[in-house]
Symmetry: C2
Subunit: 211 residues, 2 copies
């Protein structure tokens, strides 16, 4: 490799490293003070960089959140790939979901909760959250469709059935330092198992009586 | 009734009405701008009252949130009482839960989400949220204990099983204007039904495999 090419690669990996460093700093700031309260100034201070330097990497707080979402997505893809090499698709799906909810850090959960609230008031963040949710929905319903063992399985209905449970685990993780996700994860896996075999026939919600 | 006594009652109901009016204004402000961003000044403006007058009723934003939580509690108690007069306890429980999650307004859901986030950073709010959650937990586990039809029913485990689902419904309601809670409510009722009859045996959460 020529010295010039080496320098280009060094510069590139230096830039990538600095991007990572800013994203780490942002995560800390957002978790500590919330997305709304955090300024680009705060980010610069936390990253020990000048504000001007930060703006070379991200031109707004929304761009930083987009960067965090992309990083999450890349990490998720690496996890799925590693598990796909190891076993069958159904085991992969159950394992990926379980690991995600059992291992999600309190910081990541708080950040997610914060972005949900911000989404109710900030259209740019609402758009980001919606795109992320939509990607998750498409990935999961495709997985369900590929894995169903009965024509009675309705992948879209199965997704609707598990979505609130998944959101609720994130809230519980954010609120309770000692939260144990295992019962909810087991419930999630049971629902998916029932759904794939077409046995998710839920009774209609009953507003007035309990039978 | 003497004129003096009438005047005292008028003054009291006037005070109660003003308190209600401030709480309504607070709800609007919090939903629009978030708990953190809302100042007592904003509250006064929204309620068309002087800040000094607001402080006669509530001495801090935290006190306003406490007032909102108390109002929720009173409304809930009225609902439970009305339903208890109408039918048996199990139907009451299922009906109260269904009505709550089917009818919760987007505003109320956003406010709840906002307070959860605030609780991750503000000890006074964390305390309020925790007390509210604890009350709900005690009420529900007592209900489960009274209604169980099998010695295998574990009221505490049943509560743990439904808690994330209930939180998730609130998040979904806050995020999606068109959210239909019926599938999740049906799932909640199924879980409770299974739990009360001791049939909630969830498999242990499986992190690596999907069987």
């Amino acid at each position: 490799m020529s010295a010039a090419a080496g320098a280009v690669i060094d510069a590139r990996s230096g830039q990538a490293a600095r991007r990572e460093h800013i994203l780490d700093a942002a995560e800390s700031c957002f978790v500590r003070n919330g997305f709304h309260r955090t300024t680009m100034q705060d980010l610069a201070r936390e990253a020990s960089m000048s504000p001007g330097n930060i703006y070379r990497y991200f031109d707004s707080k929304e761009a930083v959140v987009l960067g965090l979402a992309e990083r999450d997505r890349e990490r998720g893809a690496v996890l799925v790939e590693a598990m796909e090499r190891a076993g069958d698709k159904r085991a992969v799906l159950m394992g990926v979901l379980a690991r995600f909810f059992l291992e999600i850090s309190r910081e990541a959960a708080v950040l997610r909760l914060d972005l949900w609230v911000e989404a109710t008031r900030n259209p740019a963040i609402a758009d980001l959250v919606e795109r992320g949710d939509e990607e998750g929905r498409v990935w999961l319903t495709e997985m369900f469709d590929a894995l169903k063992t009965s024509p009675d399985c309705d992948p879209a209905a199965l997704f609707d059935a598990i979505a609130p449970l998944m959101k609720g685990m994130i809230v519980s993780r954010a609120l309770s330092p000692g939260y144990d996700a295992r019962p909810a994860v087991a419930q999630l896996q049971s629902l998916i198992k029932a759904g794939l075999s077409g046995a998710l026939a839920l009774p209609p919600a009953d507003k007035e009586a309990g039978r």
